[in-house]
């Protein structure tokens, strides 16, 4: 079977999982149903021959699942009342989305065929990447040599995010002054 058939199968499985996650009443079951979506993204990366991305996506799926279960499994979790649905607003939104989709059909037709990007830089990387950098894994040679500025930005974002999270959590816990000495 071609890879598109497998992708359509995986994506429809993901859509099914997210619908199940929305409709379930139990919060733990919905978290596990959301896990289907992340796993499906990981499997579709494997079908598209991107094992680097598939590994990272799979690991972060496990990480997010642990954090979500830890956060929501407490007894004091307060479930909000479902808000009333404005039917006119939903209808207007759906009609607008369909109109935008129909208007952009020409743009979709002008895109290159699936799996055939016409990029000159990627052809350069495939031809000269191993010779230029000495790295056998081309993905690593791109993210740490050709595009190392991008990785530097990523490191800075991670550093700032961790710093901000620690600062906010310390301010919250200082009011009780029992947890403060732990950090």
């Amino acid at each position: 079977m071609p890879v598109e058939t497998w992708l359509i199968f995986v994506i429809s499985f993901m859509i099914l999982g997210s619908i199940v996650a929305l409709e379930l009443k139990d919060i733990l079951s919905s978290i596990i149903a959301i896990g289907i979506v992340g796993l499906g993204v990981s499997v579709s990366f494997l079908f598209l021959q991107a094992p680097d991305l598939a590994i990272v996506q799979f690991l972060f799926e496990i990480f997010a699942l642990i954090i979500l279960v830890r956060a929501f499994i407490k007894k004091d979790y307060h479930q909000e009342e479902p808000s009333r649905v404005n039917k006119i607003l939903v209808g207007v939104t759906i009609i607008t989305l369909i109109a935008v989709f129909l208007l952009s059909v020409n743009i979709f037709k002008s895109l290159p065929a699936f799996g055939k990007p016409l990029m000159e830089t990627s052809e350069y990387y495939l031809a000269n990447g191993a010779k230029d950098t000495g790295s056998a894994n081309l993905v690593t040679s791109i993210i740490l040599d050709y595009r190392a500025y991008d990785t530097l930005g990523e490191v800075t974002v991670l550093f700032t995010a961790i710093l901000g999270a620690l600062t906010i959590l310390r301010i919250k816990s200082r009011s009780k002054d029992s947890v403060e000495e732990q950090l």
């Binding site: 094992p51 680097d52 598939a54 590994i55 990272v56 690991l59 972060f60 496990i62 990480f63 642990i66 954090i67 830890r70 956060a71 407490k74 004091d76 191993a130 230029d132 950098t133 000495g134 790295s135 056998a136 894994n137 993905v139 690593t140 040679s141 993210i143 740490l144 040599d145 190392a148 500025y149 990785t151 530097l152 490191v155 800075t156 991670l158 550093f159 961790i162 999270a165 620690l166 959590l169 310390r170 919250k172 816990s173 009780k176 029992s178 947890v179 732990q182 950090l183």
Partner: protein, 149 residues
Amino acid sequence: MKQSSGMTLIVKTVTRVSVWLIILYGIYIILHGHLTPGGGFAGGVIIALAFLNMMLAYGRDFIKKWVNISFLHDIESSSAALFLAIGILGIAFSGSFLANFLSGYGTLFRLYSAGTIPILNIIIGAKVSMGLFVVVWALSIFHIDKGGK
């Protein structure tokens, strides 16, 4: 450490063996980032998950005795500075920021190759593993505080 903290004896015994294998696998993924799929980011998340496994199995108090959390935060912060230092060494040796000034050494498809790429992979691995674990640890502290336990 109280005997009741953490999970059951079976989980603790399995964790005691498997955590080291998981950490070893993470180090393998980081060191071979320039040869096989993976790299600093994926290997760092594997190591952070090993620490998280330890925390879930043995409880929060044990992990505080086992490692020094502020030392982990120091490793995470100094990794960011080391990344910048490698970039500045690129200016010194090769003329442009973050240049791969060691790329001439080693042979292709061997562990000793690719110049600064393995060094940057190790730095990113240290940063991601320690950073993610410290954030999860801080979130768990915050949770007890909020619950008023």
